[in-house]
């Protein structure tokens, strides 16, 4: 054992360099998370198994991708965010501030987002956008529907997990939130099925991170519901921004805190506008094709 002290001083890499290195480290920890690995494997298997199979409506297929990459991704980032909590007395007195560490954790969402993009490409490859299972939407709106059902939940779920991990101490919070969101989407989908013409029900259906835009019935083919898939995409992205900002708010001080609160207000207004436009746009009544 050596007891001599080397004249060591940190090779200080400021700001961006530290952030990139930390984000890369967190990504490495995230990709080996068993929950996330399971989500990726099951999504890949589900997508591959569904190739060449006729689907009744696309939402039923895409919900699984949202559940696995989005929901399980949320649980994985929640765990990742909480994993250093026990070491807070040490981690908390390092030069990297809590918001900077949170930002590095948010950057991890690039991984499930990338997986979501690959899942989207695979889905479009196996289920062409001209398939009747998409409903009566225009070709561009069909892309917006699948992007909103596959890609954005894959990004938003993990970001929500980081925000939750920063603010909630309860270890099972991510699982509880996952069940609440799943129950909410199920509930509003059932209500939408029985009240497809109702504008308030359409708002409730769109007031979620994931929604169904079309429903297949054995009697009348695929019915496309009210609402604009493009503005719904905007609403989802605004929710993602809110999740990031809420996560960053923890431990933010001074001018940074003020800026985050200001940005939160802007994102909140943007989300509200997008929700209203999503509910008001698109089909004004259910269209069955």
């Amino acid at each position: 054992m050596t007891t001599a002290l080397a004249p060591a001083r940190p090779q200080t890499g400021v700001g961006r360099t530290t952030f990139v290195a930390l984000a890369a480290r967190e990504m490495r920890r995230f990709v080996v998370n068993p929950v996330f690995l399971f989500a990726v494997v099951i999504t890949a298997w589900w997508t591959w198994a569904g190739r060449g199979t006729a689907v009744a409506d696309i939402g039923l297929v895409n919900a699984f991708t949202a559940i696995f990459l989005g929901g399980f991704g949320m649980m994985a980032t929640f765990w990742l965010t909480r994993s250093m909590r026990a070491s807070d007395p040490v981690v908390g007195v390092t030069p990297v501030t809590l918001p900077a560490r949170t930002a590095a954790l948010c950057a991890v969402a690039i991984v499930p987002f990338g997986c979501g993009c690959l899942a989207l490409i695979a889905f479009l490859h196996f289920h062409s956008a001209s398939d009747p299972a998409y409903g009566a939407f225009s070709p561009s709106a069909r892309i917006a529907v699948v992007a909103g059902q596959i890609v954005v939940p894959s990004l938003g779920g993990p970001l929500l997990g980081v925000a939750l991990g920063r603010w909630v101490r309860f270890p099972g919070a991510a699982l509880v939130l996952f069940l609440v969101l799943w129950s909410w989407v199920s509930l509003v989908t059932v209500v939408s099925g029985s009240h497809p013409d109702s504008a308030p029900v359409a708002v409730l259906r769109l007031f979620a991170g994931f929604t169904f835009f079309a429903l297949h019935s054995d009697a009348g083919g695929v019915t496309a519901w009210r609402g604009s898939p493009w503005f719904f995409l905007g609403w989802q992205l605004a929710l993602c921004a809110i999740a990031v900002l809420v996560a960053l708010l923890r431990g933010a001080e001074g001018r940074v805190r003020t800026r985050i609160i200001r940005a939160l207000a802007i994102a909140g207004v943007a989300a509200l506008v997008m929700l209203v436009l999503a509910a008001a746009g698109g089909f004004t009544h259910p269209v069955t094709a």
Binding site: M1, T2, T3, A4, L5, A6, P7, A8, R9, P10, Q11, T12, G13, V14, T17, T18, A21, L22, R25, S83, M84, R85, A86, S87, D88, P89, V90, V91, G92, V93, T94, P95, V96, T97, R101, E253, G254
Partner: protein, 289 residues
Amino acid sequence: MVTASISLRGVGRTFGATRALAGVDLDLKPGVTGLLGPNGAGKTTLLRLLATALPPTQGRVSVLGLDPEVPAERTNIRRQLGYQPQEVGFPRGFTAFAFVDYIALLKEWTEPAARHAEVRRVLDLVGLSDLGAKRIRAMSGGQRRRVALAQALLGSPAVLILDEPTTGVDPEQRVTLRTVLAELARTSIVVLSTHQTEDVAALCERVIVLERGRVRYDGPVTELTGQAAGRVWLADEPDPAAKVSWRTGTGRYRNVGARMRDDVEHVEPSLEDAYLLLRGGSPEHEVAS
């Protein structure tokens, strides 16, 4: 050349209705300063203040000429700070190397080769070079404390704050750690809190005794020990005149009393004797066997 220093002026800290520190004035220069005091005396609170983990509710703290209340200055302090808290939790699945490496990254060691070399160096300093690949959860309590100490030693910081660093560490390692800390204290401010008076006697040139959040003694270790000269004696029975008595390994009783006595067999006082004398033995006369 500017000498590194820490100063506290009228520093107080309350937790709700509990006053942990009150009116603390201190100046700390390079060297090892020991912090003694009973449980609940405010030692950990004082160390957390010095480590910028906690702001004071009264008074001013200056570390290396910087104000920890100002976020940018606090970050600069943290760049030159090593802190080993009393209790450190470790993330699940981390090896000793991975944990110290993660903290090194948070201390802005972004260049991998330099960072890994530094991590190996500090693990070697605490005698864990062979256990770097071992999971921390599988380590003994003493080994875990050494992992916590290793991260504090990263970059040979200008300010090293250690809260009971030798608890659970075997005697051989304690001697080695004393050597490491003594070497570091040539240029750095080292403050260590401990219940092991022999560590303070062996390592510190200065000792601060806290009691109920106030500084009871602040001065050289030799001076405090000297205060007990002529007040420690051996006898066959516990002496009613002594403040504290305990049975030693020889079967005789070591007595520590407030008044000088000539008619007894005096022995060389230790820092522990002086500390007990300063504290008045304990709230009441105490005989330990």
